[in-house]
Symmetry: C2
Subunit: 418 residues, 2 copies
């Protein structure tokens, strides 16, 4: 399978992009290059598909269900009771809806962290996206539950690998330092290193979890995790708001990656991630949407703008987190964190590409494309999406989208009626 | 001219909306009502068109031109030099582009504050939107300039009224307390009261302007404005970030309206408007986008979400500014501030309506429409826009949009080459 994108804008120049199988063969191809499919790239710009490094996809079903609530009320009275009722089928359709929304807004890869992950993998497989999938590991200090969780993790890794789909990679997701015992965190680390797996952890999302941890373990989470040998370059920490300078340096020294979730952090009033200081510490920061119950969408354009603007007002400095840094967070930094050969439109990279419709009023005038992408574009500016060399959307249409919307609505209705 | 919108969702119920001339005749009409034009409202929700109470429309031409800069650098080295070169033609095409973007994202009325306002009025007239237009009044303490500005204001008011277009209303726009002499502020107030005009003022956008004002006038702006009798119910203050409790009470006592501009305030790092305290003081707060040089778009859906989320993280309280309050700010509060009989879809109101496409993935599941509109919808969810009983957009298409995009691009290119 080969695709030729003709006369498309790439890094400010008109060119032709040639894709063979799952990879970009050339970004400077001849206009007459023979291809199975030719896309008219006029009035379009090619950018890498976004990489969303922290999502709970199936939570699309919870959209508009529990907003404007205090965190504990939100979690214990709304989210957890509903999640307890969710079946594989619910997660499947919730994830399908999420995949549709992601494709429509230019995301080609995401790291998903939830329950019933084989259903997530099935949805990803069918919709053509790329994903790192990991099942939440939570023992709450219960030894038996911990043993069962370990078995589940091993089983999932095997199951995902047995799919033999290069777009879907298993990983491990110990929920947070305060919900997984130190022994099991150590097990996760050891197993991850043995099997060369990424680890996705919630870290320092709220101030109180750090304080509570300190009372219980006589140490804050980051130094504790360092002590037990948990930190490493295969660890991606979501949120990571409440960190001291020393903790940032510890994380950076171990090559830990950060997934910043500005929209969720604002909506749940968790706090403002200290971006400037973290950047100074040398930490690599990518971008995530978090789940739809705390965002409530999966639009990475929106997350880029929120990331940039939140830091500016928080630091009283409009020069902090300029457009290009937000763009890199959403693309190349995400790809590096998830260890995929994408995040840039260059020959040799995976053909994970979004074509932007430059005829949208919010993209006129065309002066600075990166600034327009970060500060005025929306998901709806995406016209075409290619992932792994296959076209998932052309002219704004995704195959089967009507069915996904109907089934997701039905599934949500049934879930809420339970 | 009459329009029947059939089988549309309004306030959670399926109904038919009947429009005769510029007004909503019934929101519970018979399905067989005879109308010149029938709109299929299935899978759509009717909401009032948004009211944007603070814009500088022609600044769409500056989109992506000067981002991530300190306020003074931004203003003195980038914005002002370019504005000095702008012609009537530039403002006309910049405003046409803004009107197109506003229509496409569901805004039907805006308060515009700029230069060359007859060009703005012409653009508004042609595109069919509703607007309050006011020319920036700035004397910088220069008596001669002040006299010239006064004449210009009077001339503009007459010129706009001579258009005899009920959709376009003149107002006055003294720039800010620190750029207009107290004598001329007093003149503006007197003239506004005589002619029954609204006044649009920038107030307390930065901390330093208050401090500088205090040094010069031995009073902060709000008590000073009260002393000279400037405050009243016809005054709409944009930004209004740096206010003390006492100042909020003063403004509320005089019935002053506030236009909150969260996206601009974040991007320029101006600060966070103290919403909770202002609400407690009884102030009526509406929503504005500000100009595209500091936003960089005109999407009121985005501004609603920013308003809600900024307050939550700032107050460390997710219950502050719930979805419904953000929605009211963008609709009914704006209409009240601009004194137009709109902001709600009810019989007797002006027919300023947006129809939302409920088949967008970010609006599924349909659980809580207001939450979905505020937290997950984007401008692109708008399918149809009616203003003053006329259809400005149907199925996402605005007549003449290609020409506007081309001309705006050409105009921007020429302006930047000057």
């Amino acid at each position: 399978m080969s695709i030729l994108i003709k006369d498309v804008l790439l890094d400010g120049k008109k060119t032709n992009i040639y894709i063979v199988d799952e990879k970009i063969k050339s970004t400077d191809a001849k206009a007459g290059e023979k291809a199975d499919h030719v896309i008219d790239g006029r009035n379009k710009a090619a950018i890498p598909g976004f990489v969303n490094t922290h999502a709970h996809s199936a939570m699309t079903l919870f959209r508009g269900y529990a907003d404007d609530l205090k965190l504990q009320d939100w979690l214990t009275n709304h989210i957890w009771p509903l999640e307890a009722k969710m079946t594989e089928e619910d997660v499947y359709w919730g994830t399908k809806l999420a995949c549709l929304e992601m494709i429509k807004s230019g995301t080609t890869c995401f790291c998903d962290n939830y329950w019933h992950m084989p259903s997530v993998a099935k949805a990803v497989d069918e919709t053509g996206l790329r994903a790192v999938v990991c099942e939440v590991f939570m023992d709450l200090g219960n030894v038996e539950r911990g043993e069962a969780e370990k078995k589940k993790q091993v089983k999932l890794v095997k199951k995902i690998r047995d799919m033999k789909n290069s777009r879907i990679v298993p990983a491990l997701a110990p929920h947070a330092p305060y919900t997984v015992s130190p022994e099991n965190l150590a097990w996760v680390k050891e197993y991850a290193d043995e099997e060369d797996l990424l680890i996705n952890l919630h870290l320092a999302e709220t101030e109180s979890e750090n304080a509570d941890y300190h009372v219980k373990h006589h140490k804050r989470p980051v130094p504790f995790l360092e002590d037990i040998g948990f930190l490493g370059a295969n660890l991606i920490c979501a949120h990571s708001i409440w960190l001291t300078r020393r903790e940032m340096n510890i994380l950076a020294r171990h090559g830990v990656k950060i997934s910043h979730n500005p929209v969720s952090n604002m909506k749940l009033a968790s706090g403002v991630m200290p971006y400037r200081q973290m950047k100074e510490s040398g930490l690599k920061i990518s971008l995530g949407t978090d789940g739809c119950a705390s965002n409530n969408d999966l639009d990475m354009f929106e997350s880029m703008k929120y990331a940039a603007l939140l830091q500016k007002v928080h630091d009283y400095d409009p020069t902090v987190l300029p457009a290009k840094e937000a763009y890199d967070m959403a693309t190349i930094n995400g790809a590096e964190a998830l260890r995929i050969n994408a995040g840039a439109v260059r020959s040799g990279k995976l053909a994970d590409i979004a074509l932007i419709d430059l005829k949208r009023p919010e993209l006129v005038p065309k002066r600075n494309l990166i600034a327009n992408l970060v500060y005025s574009a929306k998901g709806s500016c995406v016209d075409t999406v290619i992932c792994d060399g296959k076209i998932l959307m052309e002219n704004g249409k995704v195959q089967g989208e009507e069915e996904i919307l109907e089934k997701a609505q039905e599934t949500a209705d049934k879930l809420f009626a339970k």
